[in-house]
Symmetry: C2
Subunit: 216 residues, 2 copies
Amino acid sequence: MSPCAPDTLISALSWRYATKVFDPSRKVSDADMKVLMQSLVLTPSSFGLQPYRFLVVTDPELKARLRGASWGQGQVTDCSHLVVFLARQAMTEADVDHYIRRIAQVRGDQPENLAAYRSMMVGTLVTGPRAATVPEWAARQAYIALGQFMASAALLGLDTCPMEGLDPKQYDEILGLNDTPFRTVVACPVGYRAEGDKYASLAKVRFPVEELVEQR
Amino acid sequence: MSPCAPDTLISALSWRYATKVFDPSRKVSDADMKVLMQSLVLTPSSFGLQPYRFLVVTDPELKARLRGASWGQGQVTDCSHLVVFLARQAMTEADVDHYIRRIAQVRGDQPENLAAYRSMMVGTLVTGPRAATVPEWAARQAYIALGQFMASAALLGLDTCPMEGLDPKQYDEILGLNDTPFRTVVACPVGYRAEGDKYASLAKVRFPVEELVEQR
């Protein structure tokens, strides 16, 4: 038997919608937030490098400033927690070494035994032609996290709203990221839908499966 | 109570790993594939535009050719189903109209009532400055699908391996995509791990939650 019944999975993913109005009085519990953060940590990523960070914003003043950088969208302030997804802008040898040390630590290995893996990552992302594409590579990894995050939230009965409609440069400024290797790529408010959100009851619009999926 | 118990969710996401060796004798059932395809269809996307397609490859000869364009990685041929994620390379007014008609159809509305939404999408993605960024915008949406797909598979007890190590141009050629608006961005074999895959039992390497997640 699968860990989750197929019907449960599909009904949770169908229940999910881009929440337009959150109930500002309802807060996600610490226990649920802990699960969501574990879900973020468990995201699969390229080489396992996890080239992202996640900011969980609850401070009302900070949320209000970020709302100003998000076309005034009310979800930013009315949600329980606003998760901002950051992507790394460059990879250095030090970043690779930091990861290699972590592998050795977790697996009780010696960093020297991971020299070939280290070289491969350095050659690809630090010194190779793909170094210039690191910001986009890292952004895509952050989007894997976003996908896993929204699915996880739905399975916990929590509402989300993926939000690309924001000014990343203003976010970076407000969040003080300009002196860090990370930049804002996308945000996702989480919380509970307000009873009056008319979008909750609209039929979900998707192209038919035969249009989106092709068997070969 | 949440649709899925938090412990079940976290243990499924922890059980998941980038499967290196699939058991070629085990096939994912049609029922499970149907659920996975629904999960792909239900992916949240920017404006709801679903600027992606998914190819589900099972033909052994085609898999063999794709393996040659994937650094020879055995997962491509040994998996049960290989899902190839495609992203749209440009958005036209006709594409937006097609989506608008679908909204009207699903919600029993008239396309004319959606004129403002149509204008906004056209202004952003067809005629606006962001038109040039459509390939990357669409690729990111495909990565949301990838994240939701891998989480869904884990919840169904199915193994996956996200695969960026492929030559997209060769894939496009082999799959005959060059005359379509879509191009390969990433692939994901799905199936069952082989008993002998030593990676299955290695400790999962992640940075500590305090390093990846910051509260504000």
